[in-house]
């Protein structure tokens, strides 16, 4: 056993001494590397001081309220190995070798908010004796290059086994880690809360934002920057709609293809905007013009391998259900395969955003500028609804609609959403010419 001295670290530029405001340990406590031992306060901040090694506290420098000079001895610990007094400490070499292991409370934001590890009382999990009485991770010795001391063969074995050598106690001369130390380490279970077997991953990757991704980024940015969005989320009971859809699919799927919920929503939008043409429009904000359209060209936000694309179902107002379904399928396929034409990818007057089965309770869709409204479809789920004096299991889907609040007032937005809800809850109405 040796004595390890913790000194008052340099807690900030120009600070010569700091006031001791808390001892987290008392003599006799067993503490682990990185446990907080004390807190000190300067006129700038309170700084917690962690233990750089594991061991037993044997001496504290003063009482709470004392001023301690930077560099003065703060605490002594009994540690396995030689400690750092007298002579140089392994840990001090680590400092010199530039290994960023050493606690440096002064660097970075002083962090009184750092959650303190369990302290005061000797933590239960700390230093569960194993490997005989030898505590793990005791003041690991470092070589001239700041590495744990080990032969290349031991290094390779540790790497292959996913063992962080910094956690292994070396039994050889100068704390060198031997093959036998690795055997011991792998044979004994990790104490709770100690290092995991997972390796640190320090890699970083820069990906250039180009092509479609850059286009998406620019458009999203422009939309979000220019348009004050108002989003309304409403609950829609789609039980009747789902019944109808199932029935139509049961009767016609083989011949005419399967219907998803999208063609119905498109039909509802066509009906709703026929009463509120202000929503089927472009706001050309630089020219101060709102351009209303007779045609309803519905953009369908579609995920492709390259990113988000918005193919356009043109003249949805003139399409029946199956026709719309077929067009959606064709456009989605063209977008995913990259064969969609420019024509097919532009000119929408209002858009639908749907995450399909991944959909959530609610989303906040971003408007496809210069349009003024977008309808977000969320997942259909069976939920209890209060109907006729009792809870009933109903098929419920939330819709999230965003509007350009510069040109669409909240009232009109709400009217539109209620209209969609009414149409979708009573689908027969959608197909009654009115």
């Amino acid at each position: 056993m040796g004595t390890f001295v913790i000194k008052m670290p340099d807690v900030g530029e120009g600070v010569a001494e700091a006031e001791l405001v808390e001892w987290s340990v008392k003599p006799g406590d067993l503490i682990r590397e990185d446990d907080i031992v004390a807190a000190v306060m300067t006129d700038k901040a309170t700084v917690e001081i962690p233990a750089p090694v594991s061991g037993t506290v044997i001496w504290l420098a003063g009482e709470i309220g004392d001023q301690i000079a930077v560099g003065a001895e703060l605490m002594h610990m009994d540690v396995e190995g030689e400690g750092n007094r007298p002579g140089a400490a392994a840990v001090r070499l680590r400092e010199a070798a530039g290994v960023a292991e050493e606690p440096q409370p002064a660097s970075g934001p002083a962090s009184p908010q750092t959650p303190a590890a369990p302290q005061k009382d000797p933590p239960k999990s700390a230093l569960t004796p194993h490997n005989g009485d030898r505590p793990r991770a005791v003041a690991p010795s470092r070589d001239a290059y700041g590495r744990p001391i080990a032969s290349p063969a031991v290094r390779k074995r540790a790497r292959d086994a996913g063992i962080d050598l910094r956690r292994v106690t070396g039994s050889g001369p100068a704390g060198r880690i031997t093959h036998a130390d690795l055997d011991d380490y792998t044979a004994s279970p990790e104490p709770e809360g100690a290092a995991s077997e997972y390796m640190r991953e320090t890699s970083m990757e820069d990906i250039k934002v180009t092509g479609l991704r850059r286009k998406i980024a620019e458009r999203m940015d422009a939309a979000n920057r220019h348009i004050p969005h108002i989003t309304i989320v409403e609950e829609v009971d789609v039980t009747a709609l789902e019944d109808l859809r199932q029935r139509l699919n049961g009767e016609h799927a083989e011949r005419r293809g399967k219907l998803t919920v999208l063609p119905f929503i498109m039909r509802a939008i066509v009906r709703a905007v026929s009463e509120q043409p202000a929503l089927n429009a472009h706001f050309l904000d630089e020219d101060n013009i709102i351009r209303r359209f007779g045609a309803v060209h519905i953009g369908i936000a579609t995920q492709t391998p390259n990113g988000l694309m918005v193919p356009v179902v043109r003249h949805a107002e003139a399409m029946g259900l199956w026709e719309a379904a077929a067009e959606i399928g064709r456009l989605a396929e063209a977008s995913r395969s990259g064969s969609a034409t420019r024509e097919e990818l532009s000119g929408s007057t209002i858009s639908i955003s749907s995450l399909g089965p991944l959909g959530a309770l609610a989303t906040t869709p971003i408007i496809n500028r210069p349009e003024v409204a977008i309808v977000g479809i969320n997942k259909i789920a069976t939920r209890p609804l209060w109907l006729d004096g009792e809870f009933k299991p109903r098929q419920v889907m939330n819709i999230s609609c965003s509007f350009d609040h510069r040109v669409i007032d909240g009232w009109d937005a709400a009217v539109f959403v209620q209209k969609l809800k009414a149409l979708l809850e009573a689908p027969a109405v959608m197909f009654v010419e009115g």
């Binding site: 140089a88 400092e95 070589d143 001239a144 032969s151 290349p152 290094r155 100068a174």
Partner: protein, 463 residues
Amino acid sequence: MEEIDCTVLVIGAGPGGYVCAIRAGQLGLDTVIVDAAYLGGTCLNIGCIPSKALIHAGNEFQKASAFSTDNALGIRTGEASIDLSATMKWKDAIVTRLTSGVGGLLKKAKVRHVAGRARFVDGKTVDVETADGIRRIRAGHVVIAAGSEPVELPQLPFGGKVISSAEALSLPEVPERLAVVGGGYIGLEIGTAYRKLGAQVTVIELGDRILPQYDAALTKPVADRLAGLGVEVLTGAGAEGLSQDGEKLRVRIGDELREIEADRILVTVGRRPVTTGWGLAELGLDMDGRFVRIDDRCRTSMRDVYAIGDVTGEPMLAHRAMAQGVLAAEVIAGGNRRWDHGAIPAVCFVDPEIVSVGLSPEEAKAPGIAADVAMFPFAANGRAMTEEDDAGFVRVVCRKSDGLLLGIQAVGNGVSELSAAFSLAMEMGATAEDVAATIHAHPTRGESFQEAALRVLGRGLHV
């Protein structure tokens, strides 16, 4: 345009590149290596190997010359002479043997070799200008091993009598007067060799002493030997360019301007990474100063593009590049490998040789390190005496607290071969006690390593 598809493409067939390609091939990866010039890179063709050949020739000629006059050994021969063109032929044969050996090793590892200048089209595509036109290579992974080249001085551009190390290693005859601009290891190695071959040599060094990266104790035996050989060393001296008539080298020492007669002016003021000509700008890789930035797996900032060797930074040494080459190949093959080498020995083949690995005594004075330093002189080593060359010493730097070896240096002839022992001791985490307790063969220069370790422990026997 003929196209090639492969898993690994290595650009540059120097020691880093060809080792990487061989290892990749061994690991079963479909590998292509491209080089514009020749297999073996600078090292085998115009660097390490030919310079060692020239140094050997210089030493042999010096010996032979010594035997034509009175000498301690009592050997008597006729007057020595040298036909440098024959020497160069011999040197070229060694280079050819080594480079064709590399070719054979690549073939054995099933690596395809494409000769030509490579240029990136994008991160996975490279166009190679071959003798038969452009060939496009598409690769899953690309390893950049473009190497380094001599730095040119703007006031002394290469050409005419101003030469780089490459030309200096292939001169048709020994120049009568050779000026060496730059007193680093490359200039001193070549300058010393030509001095021994009979040239009048002047070294012009800007710093206040030669080999400034080493401490004065290590370089003193070299400075003494240069003086003994009659090499003129001008320190604090800057080369200003050629004289009006283009014949002499103008040198400024303080306020004094001197003109030095020279038949050849060898400029060895450092090497720089080759970062142009292969499309670095198009790739937009992150840089670390003038070097390509890599992580501890030799990965650049672009996915699946790796870099190894001199383009990635100091120390620009072949053995570092080779270790990186192995690492990159194993990472590409899916291995969980990181750069965790510590010891990278540096050897100067000057006279006498210098070896250094780990921390110098000066570096070990950094705060937080308490170190003991001890040296053992070759003047007390039997083997050195019997070789008529007892200049120099072995020195160890050990941590005070536990005797861990932090650094080992030596100067003396033959110490380049001791570098193996030094590096192994460092990399194994040996302490002074480990070295002291290892039986070293007698009589060898290696005993001085053991004695230095004994001395640092206070138990030296032979001093």
